[in-house]
Amino acid sequence: MNLAHFLAMGGYAVYVWPCYALAALVIGLNIAAARRSLRSAQRAARRRLEIPREAGTP
Amino acid sequence: MSAERASLASAAGLLMARDLRLAVRRAGDSLLPLGFFLVITTLFPLALDPALSQLRDIAPAALWVGALLSSLLALDLLFRDDGQDGALEQLALCGQPFAGLLLAKTAVHWLLTGLPLVLIAPLAAIALGAPYRAMPGILAAVLLGTICLSLIGAVGAGLTLSLRRNGSLLAILVLPLAVPVLIFGARATALAIAGESLAAPLYLLAAIAVLAATLAPWALAAAVRIGLE
């Protein structure tokens, strides 16, 4: 099983690889969005409670 | 305050009579959805070849899409006035089961907007090429279908009570839930037109109607209470 054969996916490459790429994209976006959502909530909560920030914290 | 509580039945009866009286005074409001239905079912043949045989094929689709959209439009009438002038709040506080009263309101709403549809639909079907023998089947299907749509739509109307006027949100909420009604109703209509037995989809429609009548009152009461906050 060589690399070219693997990448060709028996002729279905144009369907298979975009699927995996899309899955990676959706997973990546979800992770980023979840982290962003948490951090913005933490920032807002800090503002509400007037907690002074230390260097290095978001 | 009387020591004897009025029964739910008499309270509901009073409510329904009052709603009917109010609606009769503004009859135009209730007839608008009907007009909308006729316009939509007219649009389909205009978009296609008016050859009657082809019309007959799309008749179920035209009828049911028209019924769905016009019942969506009619939902605006259900809680609008009472929501605005505080009558809904009074109903919630008056001591009677809120779900029962809301069910009564929905029933009147169906009488005013759903029932005319049931009566007109067979005629619209004929205009779309359906044979006369299909009329009883179409009547039965649209009867059950509009009842389901009124119940499902009422829940959506309750959830969007007092929100910014946004018809698309109500549509997005209600239409996916109405898909089974559309599927079974259109299939029943197609079978009626073809002269075959429409027992299967009709029973399924009836089952949905029973389920909706059982669950919708709870959901309605919860939704409207939340909407009134």
Binding site: F6, C19, V26, L49 | L159, T160, R164, V179, L211, A222
Partner: protein
Amino acid sequence: MAWVWFHKFGSPPHFYRLATRLTPWVAWPALLLGLAGLVGGLGLAPADYQQGDGFRIIYVHAPAAWLSLMVYVVMAVSAAVGLIWRMTVAHAVAASCAPIGASFTALALVTGMLWGRPMWGTYWEWDPRLTSELLLLFLYLGYMGLRNAIDDVPRADRASAVLAIVGVVNVPIIHYSVIWWNSLHQAPSVMKFGQPTMPASMLIPLLLMLAAFTLLFAALLLTRARGEVLRRERQARWMLEALGGGAARGGPSAKGALVGPSP
């Protein structure tokens, strides 16, 4: 005893701390299982008799579809818990589910279409599974639209909870009606394969991917839910401890960063 545990879990500070500690424990296994599933699915599993290598799309399509449905159920159950027991943590969990579920529903749809193209010849064939997925996406969008339209958060929580419960009751009905509708003309489904049963070499990577996606969802949910809990708490002392002066412990690693600054 169970009630004590239940109410403890429902208390925001406990949930926040628990979620923070738990996230790496689901995130790392998710990554490992996913890699194992990929190796098995892309490399070790043999090509299908009928669909050739094209069937390998199942290793992302099926987990995405599984997630789309499972997340909706989690959303509806936590919404119901929030409504009945007036638990903000449950509402926070429900709110977190929606964007995750919607995005994976969309992924299931697109991968389903890409799978269908070589197998059916068209991108869309109105088969019951994909049509149900599409309607599920509409249900998610309606839920998020309703939440978005109500400015007051507790009211949005309660209204969308009613919608989620109504929706989850409808999902089996909608699914059944679509299958019924589709059985009238027997459109082929992508999920059928050449061999009568799936051999272990094909099945095991699938199970690994299903598990990986599920654990990923847990990690995403815990992360988002922490933020949603914070948004719903006004001025609570526990938040001072959790957020005050806490520098991030340890370096940022790919999955560890999901956790964010530790309490």
